[in-house]
Amino acid sequence: MTGLEAVILTIITASTPLLLAAIGELVVERSGVLNLGVEGMMVVGAVCGFVAAYTTGSAALGVLAAVLAGMAMSLLFGFLTQTLATNQVASGLALTLLGLGLSGLIGESFTGLPGVTLQPFDIPVLTDIPFFGPILFGQDVLVYTSFLLVFAVSYVMTRTRIGLVIRAVGDNHDSAHALGYNVLAVRYGCILFGGACAGLAGAYLSLSYTPQWVENMTSGRGWIALALVVFATWIARRVLVGAYLFGTVWIMGLYAQGLGIGIPSQVLSSFPYLITILVLVLISRNRTLTKINTPACIGRTFVPDR
């Protein structure tokens, strides 16, 4: 394996969880809902995926459990913010706090146990092609899923009626309601999709990235995913670019650490967070760019009048 190949392979592993979580949150935010609980859903997905895979021995069941756990968490958020019309920022924070606590409790007796690894694809001939083989044909199913999701979301959002309805609900819930669309149902659907994606991201962390359970193993990735959605100005294709940009930076930090160039490890570990801030600043400086694409009703509660 050449050096460059190894770097690219690790970049893919660092970017995939960000991409999975961000593409889900993008759909949620397009429907006008701000779910700050990505970190919480992701970490619960990670622990449930790990526990399910460890006890059944099947990575596939682990992934399924993670998706269901993410959706269950998001359903809680949906019930609060949609049915009970609570403040979305506070509810999202609650989801994250609850998720971090819950995952610590569930995973406590599983800490440090050897996990089940999601096996990468191994297609005869194709995977054996030097350099391109392992990169293009030797990934696990979640990596391919993340790419598929980006293209699917991009297509649905821009080319289909469902996407139009979601955007309408996110841009003006009163008009969408007046036109006869069920705003709350659309939003519930998007929230559940976001939960499923965050669960997948969690599963990737605990079944593929590092196949074990470590408390708080998401280490802020859910929050970075939220920042990525802003960075992508709510456009699906740009999430792909953003996630891989972040993954690259993250990995470069790790490699620099490995080379032992006299920078303290803490400086390098803080890179992803500092770069998130930098990127947010650069994007928000450009007011028109953000204004054009920001869902107008984001974060606002909707209570249907009767």
Partner: protein
């Protein structure tokens, strides 16, 4: 059957006060369910968790120790959230306050007379405020959302603290443990009672009183409420929303920093990597449970202090993880938010389509 919200003509005053009580009751109920699922006697477990911490004098003192930082941070956040400024990085500001405040005793260990304590507290508050100034500047200058920046800065602050404690500030005689030198003399906060309760509790009380007066009796308090509930009206009244962002972040950051240095110079007496068990995040729950009202925050801080103590007690007496405390705190916040819906809305259960039609009027 479906659940429908019906807007009340005005805010329900009764529900404003009943909702947190209801939320606590529901959390206890949820606790009983969780304990019985874990195979424990729910009544005994709840007793150990929530009642025992307030039955003994020593545990009451310990409760004050836990509640002090929660209240200090919580009152600042209450003002922030009132003004719709979402500072969720109090944990980072706490860490920075602890670092700034510890600079004096670590770098000038011989300085142990009374003024050092005053300077340490001031440095702590300054550190927290300066760290909160970053999201404030980015928000007012570039329009960057303060939620994400303040949270990202938590991770950065913890890494900076980690570097200091493992690097230049490590105790040379500390057998390579990642901790600073032990503070001495006035570098430690004066204590009361059996020696655990420290000055931080007094500072928390002062903060509550000052902010209570500020919020209910001064123009600034009025400004906070107007900008928070009706930003447009605030603009017409000549209130600057940028100034409000600065005010809220500096205030809450300073208080979080103060809580940070109080933790270091109080219970621990030296700097170590784990400065707080997540007080900065729990204080968010404290602020909401306390109705974003300084007086309410005082009560709420004590209640969440109990959950920390209960978690420790449950670990010893019942052999269950102290992580249950964090779960309870999360559940509590959910119930508070859910119950707060009752302030603005009535909840109706509709049985069928016809019932829906009738209610449609």
């Amino acid at each position: 059957m479906r659940l429908v919200l019906e807007r009340r003509a005005e805010r329900s005053r009764l529900m404003t006060w009943l909702s947190p009580v209801l939320a606590v009751a529901l959390t206890l109920l949820a606790g009983a369910v969780i304990f019985s699922l874990m195979g424990l006697d729910p009544a005994h477990a709840l007793y150990v968790y929530f009642l025992e911490p307030v039955l003994w004098w020593w545990s009451l003192e310990e409760l004050v120790v836990k509640a002090a930082p929660l209240v200090l941070i919580g009152v600042g956040l209450a003002v922030c959230f009132r003004a719709n400024v979402w500072n969720i990085g109090a944990e980072g500001q706490l860490t920075m306050g602890a670092l700034f405040g510890s600079a004096l005793p670590i770098l000038w260990h011989e300085f142990q007379s009374f003024p050092v304590m005053v300077l340490m507290l001031m440095m702590g508050a300054l550190g927290g405020a300066l760290y909160a100034a970053i999201p404030a500047y980015l928000r007012t200058r570039f329009g960057t959302n303060e939620i994400l920046t303040s949270l990202m800065l938590v991770y950065v602050a913890q890494l900076i603290a980690d570097w200091f404690i493992r690097g230049p500030w490590r105790d040379p005689q500390g057998f390579n443990f990642p901790k600073s030198v032990q503070f001495e003399g006035w570098q430690l906060l004066p204590t009361f009672g059996d020696g655990r309760m420290h000055l931080g509790a007094g500072l928390a009380l002062v903060a509550v009183v000052v902010l209570y007066v500020l919020m209910s009796r001064t123009l600034k308090g009025f400004e906070v409420r107007v900008v928070g509930t009706a930003p447009r009206a605030g603009t017409f009244a000549g209130f600057s929303s940028k100034r409000m962002v600065w005010f809220c972040l500096l205030l809450s950051g300073g208080l979080a920093g103060l809580a940070g240095i109080c933790e270091v110079a109080g219970p621990s007496g030296h700097l170590q990597p784990a400065i707080s068990p997540g007080y900065g995040f729990t204080a968010i729950i404290v602020a909401f449970l306390g109705r974003l009202n300084p007086a309410g925050v005082l009560v709420a801080g004590v209640m969440l202090g109990i959950s920390y103590l209960g978690g420790e007690a449950a670990q010893i007496d019942l052999g269950i993880s102290d992580k249950t405390a964090q779960v309870f705190q999360g559940i509590l916040l959910f119930f508070i938010l859910a119950c707060d819906t009752l302030i603005l809305y009535r909840i109706r259960l509709l049985r069928s389509q016809t019932a829906y039609g009738d209610a449609g009027r």
